[in-house]
């Protein structure tokens, strides 16, 4: 059921080869002091850093640097960022990087003026923001998380062994995001391919929930078909601008709240994948790829109608003369062929998982309730075993 909901996405997108010029329109809206947030320094090698700094200076901004944001931004780094933002009395936080850098920038934006420990208030207790928020803008260099157009912010507390994501309201969404598909060209192929599946999984984990015919389901089928089409081009030619630009745009819409309207949403694949990641430190998208088919084949009987629809509408399976089970299974076979073709990791053994880890990974898997079956611990073990190399080559 589409049901009752609110929808709001105030992020302004500048898209295309000249997207960075959007800074000239946006920067004058904010005060003089800018916190420039980025990661490990790859933006210094590819020239994006120089371009951004040059425009900031042209616009008369005072730059306060906050480098070294790690792939899983820590709460210690967050405290450090807040100090820098306070010291610079910053009026805008400009994140230049991928999802982690955007996530971190949002965390700093709500935490600088927080009167207590922001980790306790905004992550442990997940409270709404009631203090001043420093506006965030993003220059995106990697696609996947949708962080450039949503309120998501994941922060890790290594001491407490906790990684918590808070989905903030639209007042915390980036005010603007710069999306230049060319910036994604330099990503190594393994990371690019993993990113494609991360996007696909974002869509599928919202799609495989609920029983009815929401407009959201139809929109997701469109996104999936466009993603499949463009990813097959990009695998052969990673510098195909058209393919990479469509993928960049799909990634934003996969996770900017629109297609979740009226859906219960699942996210169990992310839960299993993240637990695999905790044991192996494997690339996020590859952990999702390695567990997806065993998971979907396990839950297929509980959501058969939707798996049949998926086979027909996304994978063009001809249903005539076949049982629902056959149609649904054929859809997953076509998905498997596609996954092998683009070079995804198809089993968790190849990510470093060994038999002795399986109980632990299952213990660390958070159980969700929005999909077609609420898994038991034994179910997770069974799915993980089916994801091992001896069972799926």
């Amino acid at each position: 059921m589409l049901g009752n909901f609110t929808y709001s996405n105030p992020t302004k997108i500048y898209f295309g080869e000249n997207a960075l010029d959007g800074l000239y329109s946006e920067l004058p809206k904010y005060g003089k002091n800018v916190l420039l947030v980025y990661g490990g320094g790859s933006i210094k090698k590819n020239g994006i850093y120089d371009n951004v700094v040059s425009i900031l200076k042209e616009c008369g901004k005072e730059i306060y640097e906050d480098a070294g944001v790690m792939p899983n931004p820590t709460v210690e780094k967050l405290y450090e960022g807040c100090e820098r933002a306070k010291k610079g009395n910053v009026d805008l936080i400009l994140a230049v990087g991928g999802g982690s850098v955007c996530d971190y920038a949002k965390a700093v934006s709500v935490s600088v003026h927080c009167k207590e420990d922001p980790w306790d208030k905004y992550y442990l207790r997940m409270e709404d923001v009631d203090n001043e928020i420093i506006p965030v803008g993003c220059v995106l260099t990697m696609v996947g998380t949708g962080s450039e157009m949503n309120g998501g912010s994941v922060i890790t507390n290594p001491t407490q062994k906790l990684k918590i994501g808070h989905v903030f309201g639209d007042n915390v969404f980036p005010k603007f995001s710069i999306l230049n598909p060319v910036y994604t060209f330099t990503l190594p192929k393994y990371q690019m391919t993993a990113g494609f599946f991360d996007i696909m999984s974002h869509i599928l984990e919202q799609y495989f929930s609920g029983e009815d015919d929401n407009t959201s389901d139809y929109l997701m089928e469109g996104l999936l078909k466009s993603l499949i089409h463009s990813s097959l081009i990009a695998i052969d030619n990673p510098k195909d601008y058209e393919a990479r630009s469509n993928i960049m745009w799909i990634a934003s819409w996969a996770l900017n709240t629109l297609v979740a309207k009226g859906k219960s949403t699942d996210w169990e694949v992310h839960m299993i994948g993240q637990s695999v990641g905790a044991y192996t430190d494997a690339t996020h998208g590859m952990t999702l790829a390695a567990v997806s088919l065993p998971y979907y084949r396990f839950i297929m009987p509980y959501g058969l109608a939707k798996f049949k629809r998926y086979a027909v509408n996304v994978w063009n399976v001809d249903p005539s003369g076949k049982s629902d089970e056959q149609v649904a299974a054929e859809g997953l076979e076509k998905m498997e062929a596609y996954m092998r073709k683009i070079g995804l990791v198809m089993n968790i053994s190849d990510l470093g998982v060994t038999e002795d880890m399986i109980e632990g990974i299952a213990d660390g898997t958070f159980i969700m309730t929005g999909g077609y079956k609420v898994l038991t611990h034994d179910d997770v073990v069974q799915i993980l075993k089916a994801s091992m190399k001896n069972n799926i080559s």
Copy 2:
């Protein structure tokens, strides 16, 4: 090509049976004085007026009424609305009605503080807004135009015999819109059905342009399939909440700029249909329905690949063993069968067009350049003749 673009849609949507409660969240953000804009008074019969007024009063607002907005809001009415808004020193314009009322509210919002004649500046000369804008909120009672989530505003100048639409920037978009599908239940079936085709035409006229595989095309295929699915349910049961709610949501996304990204867009069907409307005063959606198939059959050879894709992806035509022309033609046959099934007017004779009007209608048809063929005057005559009852029953 997806190309270079900006995207921004700051309208906050409250959707569902309890959507009107969104006013409690929104009204406190604005000052005391509210201009309440509506049309012919149907909202007084169905109780929406009373509900809105009661919430406005509960929130301590002073109400300035501006009733009688006509289906094609005139420039004289606009001047009158500006006077009322000035007199009340209003802080918010609340539009309660369909697309015309929303369009009109946006016109007033940019015109009240305009230092010259707003018709000259914003409609004749299409200038950007450089004066104060009074914020607009909408309570939508009819679907179709997407005005609740875009910057479009059409105003008619009867003296100059001009009807001009200005698509304003995101600063003129409604700040919020209330979408309650139940409000659409009372529309007579003829108007409801015409509205369905208006929505379909909005999508098709963006879809049938360009040569490539944009994500926008895939999203539009999703919207079309969802619309076809839900409209077939709504025709049998206009009070099917789920079907009407999906249609209401599709209508917004059909024309809120997203699916136009990377598209050249056509709009020739709207141009021919509007010229038919000028001669017959027929219902807008029905004029589009009556000329669509003759138009699409005429331009099909010039955009064959897209018409084939449309047949396969939207109408599930099996392409095996058929020529591209056959597949494309079969798609339009399936579209015709659907149109007849939901009860659309299939020829312009039934809308009151007679042979002697055809030259005049063709003269009055604005020629667009974004579709698969730029029509000549003779082309339009040929399409109109093919739309007459003796040629299409």
